[in-house]
Symmetry: C2
Subunit: 350 residues, 2 copies
């Protein structure tokens, strides 16, 4: 505490003003709204800025301008490739617009998430990216009260009056399930991420149920196992599901990671995919193409979502534009892990 080094004698706006022979206001304007300054003056100021290696003090600027040019992102975890992708894109767009990104992860815990959101706001975030629409209304009130623009990603329709950039989880899952039913599957099981506090996971399960119902099947007959987001958990869940008799002919998974675990378990149980059992995923991350057989899954445009979220947020903050609701398209990627039940591949495995 005592030894704090002099952080120190960095040039200030005033130093630049003095050196350039203008007022601080002119320097400030040259930096922030160049077109309010004459060409000649601006040149001179900028040259001085460079000569002095001046860099504006962030705190002072934030204090005076009431804006930080910093945006927060609160996501469940960076270790999930889908969020990592989205974040990367979000950040790129931010940087391209001269802004920076604050990140925090909640580990899927609503209490932690709330805390992180408050911290971001206290840190002066001009806007904030949130995943999924489901959370304590009090948080939305808090955000509204402070006039902080929010964009919700990964979920389609969000809270009204809030921007969102997402897709229809339920419709996507329904479509995939319908496709499987069309192929002849009747006994379908589902491995889902925990649905509590997770509207995306819940919607995906609901989508499968809806397809069943539409096909005149009993949706409540579909076994659903909820588990954590990890390969190991997908594996365990699959083993559990295969204890049933008769066995399901298709195991749908709420995401690709769980599906990878399921695939793994299938191999260990000596089950051929898709001959003995079909497996589907959701998200279409790289993993889906690496496992054997390659995974039939739903492609979600994560990068696009992250990039668009940033744009929407920036527009709200900078141009005071209205909240927007953007719904992105998803599509089924047919690979090898889903086929008609009992399907014999022309070339035997191994």
């Amino acid at each position: 505490m005592e030894l704090k080094p002099p952080k120190s004698d960095l040039p200030t706006l005033e130093d630049v003003a003095r050196a350039a022979g203008v007022s601080t206001a002119t320097v400030s304007r040259s930096l922030n709204s160049p077109d309010q300054v004459s060409e000649r003056t601006r040149q001179r100021v900028m040259a001085t800025v460079r000569a002095l290696r001046y860099s504006p003090n962030f705190g002072a600027r934030a204090l005076a301008a009431k804006r930080t040019n910093t945006y927060g992102a609160v996501i469940p975890t960076m270790e999930n490739a889908i969020f990592a992708r989205g974040l990367e894109a979000f950040q790129k767009v931010l940087v391209a617009n001269g802004a920076t990104m604050l990140v925090a992860s909640s580990s899927y815990d609503p209490a932690i998430e709330e805390d992180q959101i408050r911290t971001m706001i206290a840190r002066g975030a001009d806007g904030i990216l949130l995943i999924g629409a489901e959370r304590d209304p009090e948080i939305y009130d808090f955000l509204k009260e402070r006039h902080i623009p929010v964009v919700i990603a990964w979920s389609g329709t969000g809270v009204s009056a809030l921007s969102c950039v997402g897709f229809d989880n339920q419709a996507a899952a329904r479509e995939l399930a319908a496709r499987a039913i069309g192929l002849g599957h009747r006994r379908i099981a589902f491995i889902s991420a925990y649905t509590e506090n997770n509207d995306r996971a819940r919607d995906r399960v609901a989508g499968a149920r809806a397809a069943l119902e539409a096909a005149g099947l009993d949706p409540s007959a579909m076994p659903v196992l909820e588990t954590k987001y990890s390969i190991q958990c997908g594996r365990d869940a699959f083993v559990e599901l295969m204890r049933e008799s008769p066995r399901p002919t298709l195991v749908m998974c709420g995401n690709d990671v769980l599906a990878a675990g399921a695939m793994r378990a299938a191999h260990e149980l000596g089950l051929k995919v898709p001959a003995d059992v079909s497996i589907t995923g959701f998200d279409d991350i790289e993993l889906a193409t690496v496992i054997q057989p390659a995974l039939t899954t739903v492609h979600v445009p994560h990068r696009q979502m992250g990039g668009l979220a940033a744009e929407v947020l920036l527009a709200q903050v900078r141009d005071n534009s209205a909240a927007q609701q953007v719904n992105l398209e998803t599509y089924i990627v047919e690979r090898a892990s889903l086929a008609a039940p009992g399907f014999q591949p022309t070339v035997a495995a191994e």
Copy 2:
């Protein structure tokens, strides 16, 4: 610009002071150094803070205290699971200490990286996390000039006088290669990430060479293909390597992602792993356990690294402690993809 909503009438320190019947200094102290305030006063102040839902203004605080409690992390990309893991851990430790994380990615481009570093500093980062030690010395000068603590992760010995939390990439790769040589491998090929501006990648290749040399083999005879970080690239590189005659009996990969691609290519070429060709990875991400056969690789404690990096950085900033150099242990994870070289396959790929 014009319509900016009133961000507005949030309570200030002064409001709290007035309401609690004390001076602003006392409120500030209650918040920042509670033990300088009497128990009774503090209680009263805190109650008022809660009642008014007061939250300190970030800019003002940063301006007055010359500290933001914000730390920057500049990484190549969040889409790489190893960095995502490290970052997640880094962030967790930061949050546990009341700090927040600013993130930027450089896409492995030194110019972008430099830019991001400068931006972070301009944003008032109190300290900064960097990946790998190799960069323009000018950047280090800049950082030193501003007295910004830096911690370098992922590389063992870094720039002197800078903290680093890493591991010995070269030794780890050497050990793995030595193990393979002990198994009987003589023709080894290497698929590496681009080594330009990437000391980690370079060290890994160097490690393999060192093992060859130590075994009396010619290190320059080892084919090395450099490529981008992606499964597809690993696949292409592997195919390329298999054109050689005689074929290598072992393809070492600079990371697990490349190895996954190689594995994929091996299957496509009808090559059995490890009978026809062994494959090794590096990093030990989850992917390594999903592919068939499971990957023999080097385990790197990414999370630990990220967490420690945060601790080192915090210590430097808060306690003004000296720079530390921490070297973490790695170890070989033996799975199925590496075995003694089998007979030379005569069946050609199509």
